[in-house]
């Protein structure tokens, strides 16, 4: 790849990251959705991460999650950053595994759901380690349901957002 292509790629990734930050911020200003347990969020910024996973290479999605976790670390502190990092990495691992197993047969809804579930499980594992207590069973039911719901929503919205994000990717 020549320098121009590399630069273009860096810029597009930067734009994606900016969009992730904007969507995350917007989501935070919305009131807590009532059908979710306290402090669970819709995770709309993961639409962009998943898009990058499918259309810009799997490494770019991993990079975006790491950068997102760094931003959370900067703005909300080490504990929130650790949670974001563990959730993000778990989600990427889940997507990688699903991609390996199913390839093109992986639907957007399944990717969204499994990514969200892995994200939640990763965060739960991190929290368990930090407080050195087994809090798994207490949070598992709400985590499973919330993950399935938010994951399905994210997956569906991803399908709808593809034309929009394609325009950014092809800038």
């Amino acid at each position: 790849m020549n320098i121009k292509e590399n630069t273009r790629r860096v810029c597009v990734t930067g734009l994606m990251l900016a969009m992730i930050a904007a969507v995350s911020w917007l989501e935070h200003t919305l009131p807590q959705p009532l059908f979710l347990p306290p402090n669970f969020r819709l995770g709309l910024s993961n639409i962009i991460v998943m898009y990058c996973f499918f259309f810009m290479g799997r490494g770019s999605a991993a990079l975006l999650n790491v950068l997102k976790a760094l931003a959370v670390l900067l703005f909300r502190g080490p504990f929130a950053g650790a949670m974001s990092f563990c959730g993000g990495m778990a989600a990427i691992l889940a997507l990688l595994l699903l991609n390996l197993l199913f390839g093109a047969g992986l639907s957007y809804t399944a990717a969204g759901i499994c990514g969200a579930l892995a994200h939640n499980l990763g965060q739960l594992a991190a929290a368990s380690v930090i407080v050195r207590t087994n809090i798994f069973l207490a949070y598992l039911p709400s985590l499973l349901i919330a993950g399935a719901v938010t994951g399905a929503v994210t997956g569906i919205m991803l399908k709808a957002a593809i034309p929009l994000l394609d325009k950014i990717r092809r800038l």
Binding site: N39, S107, T109, V131, T133, G155
Partner: protein, 128 residues
């Protein structure tokens, strides 16, 4: 680069959702409370540092987490105040079942409510 055509929803996705619901139902079944709630336990780093009966109303703190204030009211416990940046623990509100826990990561605190059967501090059996 994934320029493959993907579907939005497949029949197997319904199976996935079904499995998740089943798992959630199983979890709910195994975390059901078996008895009346007796006391509230505060864990710091996994070690029980305080055990307070749920009988009356009370406000208490724990020396291991100086920034947190816990409140017991109507047989439920909540983190009334906390010095953590996110206040996730405070937003959790009151917990009234043994399946719920209040967790504060920066303070490394877990608050749970236990029945007599789940409390290791209580006697194993009492004869009359």
């Amino acid at each position: 680069m994934g320029f493959m055509e993907r579907k939005l929803f497949k029949r197997t996705d319904a199976l996935l959702i079904g499995l998740i619901l089943l798992a959630a139902a199983l979890c709910w079944f195994f975390t059901r409370q078996n008895g009346a709630l007796e006391s509230c336990r505060v864990l710091y780093n996994g070690k029980a540092v305080s055990s307070v009966p749920l009988g009356g109303d009370a406000i208490f703190t724990v020396p291991e987490a100086p920034g947190m204030v816990f409140e017991i009211k109507d047989g439920k416990v909540a983190a009334a105040r906390s010095d953590c940046p996110d206040k996730t623990c405070v937003h959790m509100g009151y917990i009234g079942s043994s399946a719920q826990k209040i967790v504060c990561l920066p303070n490394q605190i877990v608050v749970e409510v236990v029945t007599r059967y789940n409390d290791p501090e209580a006697p194993d059996a009492v004869t009359r």
